[in-house]
């Protein structure tokens, strides 16, 4: 808490441009301030300011190699930031591990799918509920009533979540044997099973055809409405990003070059230059 106060002293009022948020009345779920990381001499990400309001869908876009996934890895402490701070629900996340951050409310999916391939679909979800299962080692080993109650509860909740995404029929199947689309959905289910307040989706539409992408768009909207959580997504599919995001941040060479609503971004000359090159280069 002391550090939180210290940060608030340093940056008394979060500047207006920190936010993409529609509603500025409620405190943001996530606040990044001057976030940065160096890999050797390379500034992979620098001066990254972003705030995400509750139940807001934010898009993070940018050309390949702009540092989008690095931002995700910073937010989940896969990398320790070199500079700046991340506040989650108003709490500073300094010193937290990846697992701590998940408990504090950040869940993510991965660009290259990372499921527990040799485990069943249901177990994949149950692993994610581990922290909410109240059953100690003795009750598990001696199979005390507490164990059965916890397991039954976990089963019911896992099946509930799976059925929202149409995966209940595959609960017993090995996760690695699932078709690609189902694996992507399972990753989202697994992330949601940790009861996050912020969901990070790393290229959820990668490898999907237009019909699947349209379905995904609808699903993401539904997740926000049903679970009442904020979503930050990296995506290259502009139809999806422009279609569902409340706000968009554009990253290039590790720096945010534009922030705003989808309309702002579409007409922003800096963004057009980053994606298409400057007029001079093009001619």
């Amino acid at each position: 808490m002391a550090r939180t106060r210290e940060i608030q002293k340093l940056y008394p009022q979060p500047s207006q441009n920190l936010f993409l948020a529609r509603d500025l009345d409620r405190p943001p779920v996530l606040e990044c301030r001057r976030l940065g990381i160096n890999f050797g001499g390379l500034e992979a990400v620098s001066e990254f300011d972003l705030a995400i309001g509750p139940t807001e869908i934010t898009g993070l876009i940018g050309p390949n190699g702009a540092g989008k996934t690095t931002v995700f890895n910073l937010l989940t402490k896969v990398y320790e930031p070199s500079r700046g701070s991340i506040l989650l629900n108003g709490r500073d996340t300094m010193g937290m591990t990846t697992a701590d951050l998940n408990k504090a409310g950040i869940a993510r999916t991965f660009q290259n799918i990372r499921l527990f391939r040799n485990m069943s679909v249901e177990d994949n979800v149950k692993v994610a509920m581990d922290n909410s299962i109240s059953c100690g080692l003795p009750s598990a080993i001696f199979r005390l009533p507490k164990y059965w109650k916890a397991e039954r509860h976990a089963h019911v909740r896992a099946m509930e979540l799976l059925s929202i995404f149409g995966l209940q029929g595959l609960a017993g199947a090995k996760a690695g044997s699932l078709p690609y689309g189902a694996q992507r959905r399972l990753e989202i289910v697994r992330a949601l099973a940790t009861k996050p307040s912020l969901l990070l989706l790393d290229e959820p539409a990668a490898g999907m055809n237009p019909a699947e992408t349209a379905e995904l768009m609808e699903t993401i909207g539904r997740i926000r409405d049903e679970f009442q959580i904020a979503i930050l997504l990296i995506e290259h599919d502009m139809n999806l990003v422009m279609g569902i995001c409340d706000g968009i941040a554009v990253l290039n060479f590790g720096r945010i070059i534009a922030k705003g609503t989808p309309e702002d971004i579409q007409n922003n000359p800096a963004v057009i230059e980053a994606y298409l090159g400057s007029r001079k280069e093009r001619s």
Partner: protein
């Protein structure tokens, strides 16, 4: 499909009951064979060794198969367990009690010895596990390799401690009460395998398997990977300690040279041969690799050659081991048979 509601399921308590009955049946079979004189004293000794090796292999399988780490010092934990149990038992009147035939009077001492060996091995497991398992990667192999050697060298060199005779060094710790019988060995095997099963089929087991499958993903869903890795490793070490305790009570004397690096490799071979992540595989290969050398005593010079050859052939033709990661379920089989009889096959009949 197995998710189909028409699939007949055996309820959980009945499953446990069936398993307990089967285990009791197996014990009745063994004890009646002993009484009938089919199992001679020689074979009784081999069966005890089989039991000890089953505990060793199944416990190493927790680390290698379920956790996906590679400890190379399992014999070290066995040695720690064996010596602590032996030193404790020598200090109690258990020896006279056993010699005078009142084994039941020695039971509390035996239970204490098992607890002590598990505890001491577990403490060493924690000491080694926490620093090694906090890192990602194969550091555990190197650290446990060193640990195994350190333990052996230490035992060889501290023959006495503070004026008391301690491990008797290279001369060996002799005249340990022979407290291990086929009966208590059988019980310990059942309890150890039961413990592993219960652990792996609970939320702890799920988390351990998740760490093996994908550590980064496990961490991202809030699994404290260090905690679960250490837990699995410590359970593995504790069971190895118990195996050591039985070993000390079976042989009656301990020599540090027993717990050389090759002993660890021998146990590892059992696990790899049986299939990493398969308890049945560990049990079968532990039994086979214990009995086979006894049957082939005449060719004992070629044992290490045979071992290496077996492994090479195995890796070429069946790299996942005898059983792969398949685990056998007796009640599952019975369930399947009931459903077949009722005209439902596992694959068809959707």
């Amino acid at each position: 499909m197995k998710n189909d509601s028409s699939w007949i399921r055996i309820p959980m308590p009945v499953r446990y009951l069936i398993n307990i009955c089967l285990i009791a049946g197996l014990w009745l079979l063994i004890s009646s064979l002993v009484n009938a004189g089919v199992i001679t004293n020689y074979w009784k000794g081999i069966l005890i060794t089989v039991g000890i090796n089953i505990i060793l292999a199944a416990s190493l399988n927790i680390s290698v198969g379920y956790l996906g780490q590679l400890p190379l010092g399992h014999a070290g934990f066995m040695a720690v367990g064996a010596y602590s149990a032996a030193i404790y038992m020598k200090s109690t009147p258990a020896a006279e009690l056993i010699r005078s035939g009142s084994r039941s009077a020695a039971l509390p001492y035996l239970l204490a010895a098992i607890a002590i060996s598990a505890l001491v091995a577990g403490i060493f497991g924690i000491l080694i596990g926490i620093p090694a398992l906090r890192l990602k990667g194969d550091y555990l192999a190197i650290i446990t390799l060193g640990f195994g050697e350190i333990i052996r060298v230490t035992i060889t060199n501290i023959d006495s401690l503070l004026g008391f005779k301690f491990t008797y060094g290279a001369a060996g710790l002799a005249r340990i009460p022979k407290y291990t019988t086929l009966g208590n060995c059988f019980i310990m095997v059942v309890l150890s395998l039961g413990l592993i099963h219960m652990l792996m089929k609970s939320r702890f087991g799920r988390a351990i398997l998740a760490v093996r499958d994908n550590e980064i993903a496990a961490e991202s869903v809030g699994v404290n990977t260090t905690r679960y890795k250490t837990m699995a490793f410590v359970v593995s070490a504790m069971l190895a300690g118990i195996a050591g305790c039985l070993y000390a009570g079976y042989l009656g004397s301990l020599y540090p040279s027993t717990f050389k690096f090759m002993k660890s490799i021998e146990i590892l071979v059992m696990v790899v041969l049986g299939g990493m992540g398969s308890m049945l595989g560990s049990v079968i290969s532990a039994a086979v690799l214990t009995v086979l050398p006894e049957l082939l005593r005449a060719f004992s010079d070629y044992r290490m050659v045979a071992y290496s050859l077996l492994l090479v052939i195995m890796m070429i033709f069946r790299p996942t081991g005898l059983m792969g990661s398949y685990d056998f379920s007796m009640t599952g089989l019975i369930e399947e048979l009931i459903n077949r009889a009722a005209g439902r096959s596992a694959k068809g009949g959707q």
